[in-house]
Amino acid sequence: MIPELGQYALILTACLAVLLGTIPMIGATVGNALWCSYARPLAIAMFGFVLFSFLCLSWSFLQSDFSVAYVASNSNTALPWYYRLSAVWGGHEGSLLLWLLILTGWTLAVALKSGNLPEDIQARVLSVMGLITIGFTLFILFTSSPFERYLPRIPEQGADLNPLLQDIGLIMHPPMLYMGYVGFSVAFAFAIAALLSGRLDTAWARWSRPWTVVAWAFLTLGIALGSWWAYYELGWGGWWFWDPVENASLMPWLIGTALVHSLAVTEKRGVFKSWTVLLAIFAFSLSLLGTFLVRSGVLTSVHAFASDPDRGFFILALLAISIGGSLLLYAIKASHVKSESSFGLLSRESFMLINNVLLTVCCATVLLGTLYPLLVDALNLGKISVGPPYFNALFVPLGSLLVLTMGVGVLLRWKQTSLQLLIGQLWLPGVLAVLAGALSLYLLPYWPGFWVSAGLLLAWWVVFTGGRDLANRMRNKSAGLSALLGQSRAYYGMVLAHGGIAVLVVGIALVSTFSEHSDLRMEPGDRKQFYDYEFVFDGIRKVDGPNFHSDTGVIRVLYQGEPYTEMYPEKRLYTARGNVMTEAAIDPGLFRDLYVALGESLGGDAWAVRVQYKPFVRWLWLGGLMMTIGGLLAATDPRYRKQARRDLAGA
């Protein structure tokens, strides 16, 4: 009964979405205020029904109702309740329902928070969100309903959740990522509404900016969580694999980052409007593409996609209508857009443009590298990997250039900056960065090569140019400390996010160069030395967990010859599915991680052991966290609310 109610709620959602996608849109076009006013209540009701449907599915999981096919294939009575709940989004159908829940959640947030927007804009934005909801609800109903039943033969026991997914990192990762992906739909809806109404002005940029930044912050967090999870759970100690699933989330992030900056320019100076709209469309399109590439399994194997051609063609049709339609609208409408000001070559505007171009090129690089093997596979030419050499060769120089211009960009003024002034601003940070960079290199055990050195130098460059900017701001005010605390929240957000980039760059540079790892055949008593640490293998213990058997290795660690800690890497056999999982033992630290993973038994007392020393690896996620917090700070700047009130008073 409960699953049928969930299905019914989804059908009602589709009906509501159709109403939301049409009535307010027509109302806004013909100027009927009553029709426009339907938008908010419809948005609220739509969220209510999707939430109800989601709760129905969660209930079925909690009750282990194995007559529901999706529950039976993703859960098990032995699973603890919290993993049963997270199993709701453990498969294709449930993830789509989570997607839909978050989409209608964003729609609800826009409905509740946009009371100060002009009525026709609000109606159009919500209406576009409604149109997106139609597509997704129909996709779920026709091709991937999570409520399908196994009748009449009900399985006694479920197939269990993949042990890889039985983990806190994977409980949090998809919702955060989807918050980001789907959040770009708001920026997209604002862009489409602006195109339709012909009002591409600075007010539009101001309205969509906080939404975009929040979505970007969630996406950043989602990617960081995914990377952290891969690091500790997959047993390789890698943190980024350039694998298509990761690339699918990186592409919207790159374009989203460009969009955040481009929106800033559009709001402040009234230029780049047409470009900003295009980026908003791209960011959401790539989110759609990413979701489908991942969810449809098309990237792991084309044949999974083709085996269910309905799904494949539905997806393609959805992409064609939404992306094709919005690009067509853009092509028709964007020619009327005029810039409201001009700018010189040495200006913040032009450096933001350089930033945008670089980010877009990065994204195109990833898109090519990701889709190329897919196309080759789709054309039945076999399977190939476009590996890290391709991505690294293109990404390292592009990224370095990006960070270099970032330092210059923050110190430039809007409109025009004289070369003399710029040099006056830049020479000191430049000299300091070189000195600090040289000192950092001196402290390293050996010369790490050109690009890593450049990375360290650039990280300092970002720090010192940021410091210079702060110093400039403080000089214009009387008291030092109050000036430091008196900057806007958006400014602190920017400083924190840019600082996050510096931290990330240091992390990437050092962990990719100074990591030490060794795959060893170890018998009890065998030793291995990395820098100041020595690892001693003390043998294997048999340990039984609640739903697995484990071989637990005991590794004693000595620091400069003194006992330091013991580490317990495990090899677990999960009995329900017969999966073998590696649980790495990690001794984390701000400046280095020790990482031990247990491989196979090599006969007798000998085991394959992978021992790793990972310097600065935590900085990767610290940087991601700083960017996330920076984004959230900037998005909650009180100025948006004040300005919104002023807009209303002026209207």
Partner: protein, 177 residues
């Protein structure tokens, strides 16, 4: 002019969409190799296992063999590695080209996962890869005793692919005899 430029993103998208749609519905024929029935390209590169020894295309001649392009950064290579080991045990001669890789890692890999290769050419810069027209790793070529390329397979070698390769090799062996 500007109006036309605005249509560019749409056109790009339509192109991409068409390609994806074709990919969903059509299975076109195999990738022709420009090198097919051509002698193996000339090269002079170090051996992976003995870095001081230089190898040339002459080292690959003598009997029909497989030439497998691989790298440690390529997950699909790892997938096919076990199968290559089986083939080597059955007595198939396999030459490896270690493509754009780090020699240290590559040697460690062969130690860890066993070495199916009679010889491994170290193509760190990918120059031989360019001459061969390698799309990406893994790729496998069938060469005859004179070192002429007779067949090219892009992607992992598994039991199904091997049937095809074996046919070609058997023909070559028959022709030589």
């Amino acid at each position: 002019m500007r109006r036309i430029l605005l249509f560019v993103p749409l056109l790009i998208f339509i192109g991409l969409g068409y390609f994806l749609w074709r990919g969903l519905s059509i299975d076109p024929t195999e990738l022709p190799s420009a090198r097919l029935n051509q002698p193996f390209p000339q090269f002079q590169l170090a051996s992976l296992t003995e870095p001081e020894r230089m190898m040339t295309e002459a080292d690959l001649k003598g009997r029909p063999a497989l030439v497998n392009v691989w790298a440690t950064w390529c997950p699909t290579c790892k997938e096919e590695h076990t199968f290559l080991n089986q083939l080597a045990q059955q007595g198939v001669t396999i030459y490896g080209i270690n493509y754009k890789d780090e020699p240290l890692k590559a040697r460690e890999w062969l130690k860890r996962y066993l070495d199916p290769y009679a010889e491994v050419v170290l193509d760190q810069e990918g120059s031989l890869g360019i001459d061969l027209g390698v799309y990406g790793a893994p790729e496998t070529y069938v060469i005859d005793a004179q070192g002429v390329i007779r067949y090219r397979h892009v992607g992992a070698v598994d039991a199904t692919v091997w049937k095809q390769l074996k046919q070609v090799m058997d023909q070559l062996a028959g022709g030589d005899a």
